[in-house]
Amino acid sequence: MAEVHDTMVRIEGLGKSFGALEVLRDIDVEVKRGEVVVLIGASGSGKTTLLRCVNCLEVPTRGRIWVDGEPMGIFDQGGTFRLLPERALSSRRAQIGMVFQRFNLFSHMTALRNVTLAPVMVKKMSEAEAEELGDRLLAKVGLSDKRHAYPSRLSGGQQQRVAIARALAMNPKLMLFDEPTSSLDPELVGEVLDTMKQLADEGMTMVVVTHEMSFAREVGDRILFLHQGRILEQGSPEEVFARPREERTRAFLSRVK
């Protein structure tokens, strides 16, 4: 059971359609343990949908996904993807942290409670133990003094750091970031990126959707460029940013620079 896989995420033949609209097609991705993979591409290219398929917030139409060797869905013979039963899905998701563009902190709870709730509810951790963990994680993201503050009293950057601490409280194997700095004021972007960089340095496996090209270049191990629902190009930051092979990639990069 305690078999260690080198591959943290494996995606095969993933497709996603909303009605007649095909958002993702023929996606194959492998993310190694400890790797930081950055998804880039124009809006509408499917990068957020791809990220959300990993933990089934978006249910794939077809294909197969494994996280740490465990299937994230029921894979039919015909290739159709079906959701796992609720309990199984919840316990898979509990091991995958996610950080959202709009933070999504629980607005009726303090920063500390936001962090401790899931360990208590899902992992059945004792309140005292969870509080200790919460304090440690809030300290890690530099917000010890805000433990009793409600989200509405925090800046966007602070909220996002609490959201990261909340995800870390479940001790995830994998962290998904969905444009974590896109709704922040420019002067607050740095503090969130620093926290993410720290996580990457500690060896966390991360899949990041972002428009912050300098972050992608500096922290990313591998860049995937998505265009019209396909992975058009991938490689090290060096390869993709300095020597893009595809015309579309060049065009995109020249626009965001």
């Binding site: 933990n55 917030l57 609720e86 309990r87 919840s90 316990s91 998701r93 509990a94 091991q95 995958i96 942290g97 996610m98 959202f100 709009r102 933070f103 999504n104 902190l105 629980f106 607005s107 009726h108 709870m109 709730l117 899931a118 509810m121 899902v122 409600y150 989200p151 509405s152 959201a163 909340r166 995800a167 479940m170 998904l176």
Partner: protein, 221 residues
């Protein structure tokens, strides 16, 4: 024409009137509690993905919101016993009718509150491994509850006022007692002014308590 008012008359018949207040409060409270339970189930039915739950819930809400409460009261008292073959006392029929009427509005209040909770909150809970029930209990309902307080208080106040309709069925509520006292004393001005004040005080007190509650709960926003 003499226009001296004898508000002392109110004092003389205070016992009767207070007995009416008791019935009014009783009928309103029972109708609210029952209506809240009905409303919760109807709201859940309406939000369900299953057609056979959704459809009756919609029909219920539309029927009771779009017919006069007075007719519903009369129907419950005069028609229901004949059709269903059961005998209901006036007070039970009246409370029942008020409850199902209130339930239709409360269902919409509950549905509105739940749907006003940001979807991102639910998604965040899912990604932390919460089950559907845990998400509902810890995240959605506490937030929805806050959003429901103001419209729910409106509904309480409006049910309290609508409860005066039960006097039509001979239920001895505040309004009924006032009519009795007024016809025996020939002092309608004093009596009806007084009970208007009583209704006003009851309704205002309700709103006041609710506002305090709302302030206490809103520390987080």
């Amino acid at each position: 024409m003499s226009s001296t008012f004898h508000f002392g008359i109110v004092w003389e018949y205070l016992g009767y009137l207070l007995a009416g207040v008791k019935i009014t409060v009783l009928v309103t409270t029972a109708a609210l509690l029952f209506g809240a339970v009905v409303g919760l189930f109807v709201a859940l039915g309406r939000m369900s993905k299953r057609r056979w739950l959704q459809w009756p819930a919609i029909a219920y809400v539309e029927i009771f919101r779009n017919t006069p409460a007075l007719i519903q009261l009369m129907w419950a008292y005069y028609c229901l016993p004949i059709l269903a073959g059961i005998n209901l006392s006036a007070i039970v029929a009246a409370t029942l009718a008020l409850a199902v009427n209130g339930g239709a509005y409360i269902a919409e209040i509950i549905r509105g509150g739940i749907q006003a909770v940001d979807r991102g909150q639910v998604e965040a809970a899912k990604t932390l491994g919460f089950t559907h029930v845990q998400t509902l209990r810890k995240i959605v309902l506490p937030q929805a509850f806050r959003k429901m307080i103001p419209p729910f208080v409106n509904e309480m106040v409006s049910l309290l006022k609508f409860s005066s309709l039960v006097s039509v069925l001979g239920v001895a509520d505040l309004t009924y007692q006032a009519q009795v006292v007024s016809t025996t004393t020939f002092r309608p001005i004093e009596i009806f002014t007084f009970i208007a004040v009583v209704y006003f005080v009851l309704c205002t007190a309700l709103s006041y308590v609710a506002r305090r509650l709302e302030i206490r709960l809103s520390v987080s926003d």
